[in-house]
């Protein structure tokens, strides 16, 4: 307990955060990271291994670890858990058939001791596809009490802001294991930023 609070204080000074992006294959993790970073997303191969991107947001440096989601390499996710500040769980909202798989993998992840203390963001991706489940439904399926339903479209310009705001929220709010935000499209941004400042 004492050690943890000291580490947290040091972290606060450093303002450097380690963010882990995970989720089933085909959920769009790499696309999101590249999109946030303003890179070309027209040719993205399924991730064999992982990518790291460092993004500066205001006074924070976000180190984003984008780890491949194919079944074969899911067992390696745990190699990246250590010292994770934020966990982004990406869901393909249009993949109805694998929602159960998705929930199961997330549940397994949340049992992980090394991830307690990290904030969780569930990102309901692919909202622009007709027939996709709404963020609220994704939250319900994930079995997580969503703090708020936030929206985010992959092609939305304010994505960087939203994403970073959600991840750095840990610094503002007292850190709860599994504080959850579900993102979808930009409509309720105001609601969320209001939440951040309280």
């Amino acid at each position: 307990m004492g050690l943890l609070s000291i580490i947290r204080k040091i972290k606060k000074k450093e303002k450097e955060m380690r963010i882990l992006m995970v989720g089933l294959d085909n959920s769009g993790k790499t696309t999101i990271v590249l999109k946030i970073n303003g890179e070309d997303t027209s040719v993205i191969s399924p991730t064999l291994g992982f990518n790291i991107k460092t993004i500066a947001y205001q006074k924070y440096t976000l180190n984003i670890w984008d780890v491949g989601g194919q079944k074969t390499i899911r067992s390696y996710w745990r190699n990246y858990f250590e010292q994770t500040d934020g966990l982004v769980w990406v869901v393909d909202s249009s993949d109805l058939r694998r929602l159960d798989d998705c929930k199961m993998e997330l549940d397994n992840l949340l049992k992980e001791e090394r991830l307690s203390g990290a904030s969780l963001l569930i990102l309901a991706n692919k909202q622009d596809i007709k027939g996709a489940l709404a963020p609220e439904e994704i939250a319900k399926n994930s079995g997580q009490q969503a703090a708020t339903a936030l929206l985010l479209r992959c092609d939305c310009a304010s994505m960087t802001l939203l994403f970073a705001a959600a991840m750095t929220a840990t610094v503002y709010s007292t850190l709860h294991a599994n504080s959850v935000a579900v993102m979808g499209s930009a409509a309720t941004l105001h609601h969320y930023s209001a939440l951040l400042t309280t």
Binding site: M1, G2, L3, D25, N26, S42, V43, I44, S45, P46, L48, Q70, K71, T72, I73, S94, D95, L96, R97, L99, D100, K126, I129, K130, G131, A132, N141
Partner: protein
């Protein structure tokens, strides 16, 4: 000063707590370590597969059993209905053998890996030879397929394994567009004007699927002996569990899981991937219909990237070619498949 004092008292309180927590942590660590030790020792007492000689003896045993099955085929040739399941069984044991090689490849000397892979490919070749000799090949054609597959069902059914006792998803899928639970049909979808979102093709047996126009995302699940011809998909395609199928698909991303004995004609912007696949072969996209050029251009898929041959196998992360997939030899490829006349087909159905 006050601040300092306060801090110290807090620290005092916490020290006791921390002590207790530390103790607990230490205990649990010891526990973990002893467990690990145990699991290690149990695995090492098991008949270790980590030895070259045991691998070689097992390999040769399997090999000779496959060879004897192969030589049995000639005597079975009088009964063609038995021949197909027989060959399927052999093909399965060959792929098991291949799997064994793959699993052992990390400790085998490279010579043994090469020679065993060669044995496997020799076995495959002789199986192919035998089956093409004993089972006359059907000519590729659309119209015959639908009828033929109906006729074939008698012989197809006995080999069909009971559907994997999969747990039914608790989430009841809403009425999303798709083709599901059909046998021996030609299924035609045209999405010329309105772009469609996600589309599902699942649980089909001996069907032919033709989709004209663009869709955003395509999910394919549990197909058997099907032909699937699809126009450009602007997002990604996910294929799970296909057996004995032919696919002509174009997309930005293509993922193939659990496919067996299937051919894929691809146009893809990124590298396609396979996982838990066996006997899958790849060739360039071969689909045509009136207006496909426009659709391909609209989906940014008009240029051939050559990526159809750059397949990544997640079960084979090595420099040598994966045994699970290959390039479809040019003389075995179907020509350009034209599905323009789907309208007339629809009326027939």
């Amino acid at each position: 000063m006050d601040d300092e004092m306060e801090k110290e008292t807090i620290l005092d309180n916490k020290e006791a707590e921390a002590e207790a927590a530390l103790q607990k942590k230490h205990l649990s660590m010891l526990d973990r370590l002893s467990k690990r030790q145990q699991s290690r020792s149990t695995t090492s007492t098991e008949p270790s597969t980590d030895s070259t000689s045991s691998f070689l003896s097992r390999f040769s045993q399997l090999k000779s059993s496959i060879e004897s099955h192969l030589s049995d085929s000639q005597s079975l040739s009088s009964d063609p209905s038995q021949l197909k399941p027989h060959f399927d069984k052999i093909s399965e044991s060959i792929s098991d053998l291949e799997k064994l090689v793959a699993q052992s490849s990390y400790f085998l000397p490279s010579y043994d890996v090469r020679s065993s892979l060669k044995t496997v490919s020799d076995l495959k070749r002789s199986l192919d030879c035998l089956s093409s000799e004993l089972i006359p090949k059907k000519k590729f054609s659309f119209k015959n397929k639908a009828k033929a597959s109906k006729k074939d069902q008698g012989s197809v059914l006995p080999e069909s394994k009971p559907v994997r006792d999969s747990v039914q998803p608790s989430y009841v899928a809403r009425d999303s567009p798709g083709f599901r639970n059909k046998t021996g049909e030609v299924l035609v979808g045209e999405f010329k004007e309105s772009e469609i979102g996600e589309f599902t093709i699942s649980d089909l047996d001996s069907c032919e699927v033709r989709i004209i126009g663009c869709i955003r995302a395509l999910f394919i699940h549990r197909l058997k002996n099907c032909r699937v011809y699809v126009g450009p998909v602007t997002g990604s395609i996910l294929i799970e569990e296909a057996e004995g199928c032919v696919f002509a698909i174009a997309s930005h991303q293509i993922r193939i899981h659990g496919a067996r004995r299937s051919d894929f004609y691809l146009r893809v912007r990124s590298r396609p991937i396979v996982e838990d696949c066996n006997g899958v072969r790849f060739a360039p996209y071969c689909l045509s219909y009136r207006g496909i050029e426009e659709d391909l251009r609209g989906a940014d898929l008009d240029a051939e990237t050559g990526n159809w041959a750059n397949v990544d196998d997640f079960r084979w992360l090595r420099a040598v070619q994966s045994p699970n997939w290959s390039i479809l030899p040019e003389n075995e490829r179907v020509g350009i498949v034209d599905i323009s006349n789907s309208e007339s087909m629809k009326e027939e159905i």
